[in-house]
């Protein structure tokens, strides 16, 4: 499995993603600079977290026009698996490859904390093989992760099964306000496109891939699912 990890000026989770893919999961990883117009022979793409272009204008708003994003759009159109993490999720939203947009966190504070997310769908590129209802503990680190879409669009996303992850309590239940750290509509932590090959989420699975790190290793299950789905794509 050859995985392209995109690098923008201001990316800061690119090395985490590269490390997790290559050294933890044992796949081939390669950095692709934002000015490259090609993804080469990549079989999967990770758009990593960080603060591309300093989050100027809006998170992801400038990065979406980078030359590499045209190649990502083409790759996604052909059904290639793409995973956007945190700022990578925001970039994919700005590029129109994923639905919704991010508002400032409800608290207007940058949040860096461990959260629990529940897998809602097993039929996406990032969750193949994970049972719906599976609760994964991963960290978030963002100021703009408050998922927003109009009510009818939210209904459509639910009907089409595009809500992939929700913030939940440790027991997997919704309801507790504290479990939804940023105020996201319907506690949405991650979504996919209609083709189910492009998935974005705010939590960082790549920072929760090794048991000796304090964020735990449950994110690795998501990464392995993503890397496995790429094999079968």
């Amino acid at each position: 499995m050859k995985v392209a990890v995109l690098v923008f000026p201001g990316s800061n989770s690119d090395h985490d993603a590269y490390h997790a893919v290559k050294h933890v999961c044992g796949h081939e990883a390669r950095f692709v600079w934002h000015k490259d117009g090609s993804l080469g022979d990549a079989e999967a793409v990770i758009v990593p977290g960080g603060f591309s272009y300093g989050d100027y204008l809006r998170s992801g708003a400038i990065a979406r026009f980078a030359p590499v994003m045209a190649a990502v759009a083409e790759f996604a159109k052909k059904g290639g698996p793409v995973l956007g993490i945190c700022n990578g999720f925001q970039i994919l939203q700005e590029a129109g490859l994923l639905p919704g947009a991010m508002l400032r966190n409800r608290s207007v504070k940058f949040l860096s904390q461990q959260v629990h997310v529940r897998v809602e769908r097993a039929d996406t590129a990032a969750t193949a093989g994970l049972a719906p209802g599976t609760v994964l503990s991963m960290p978030i680190a963002h100021g703009e992760g408050n998922f927003h879409a109009e009510a009818d669009e939210l209904d459509r996303l639910e009907q089409c099964g595009q809500v992939v992850f929700r913030y939940v309590g440790r027991d997997g239940g919704l309801g507790a306000d504290a479990a939804n750290p940023n105020g996201s509509a319907r506690a949405i932590a991650g979504v996919c496109n209609e083709g189910r090959n492009v998935v974005g989420l705010m939590p960082h699975p790549e920072r929760a891939a090794e048991p000796h790190l304090h964020h735990g290793a449950e994110g690795r299950r998501l990464l392995e699912a993503f890397l496995g789905s790429a094999v079968h794509a």
Partner: protein
Amino acid sequence: MIRVRVHVSLKKSVFDPQGRTIHEALGGLGYAAVSDVRAGKFFDLAMEGDDAAAAKAQAEEMARRVLSNPVIEGFTVEVL
């Protein structure tokens, strides 16, 4: 040279956490007359040429494509 100002702010239907926080701060300072605050941003574009209508049309296109995110934001364009 034509100067065009683009105002971008969250749609009315979208909750504005920043505006809410500023509103609460103003209330805390005793400005009780403030009933709502909406935060936004503006961009002043200095554009070549002397065709104000063309400059405005181009600014509207830029506002739609780049300066705003139509999922959450609206914009207005004015020639200064």
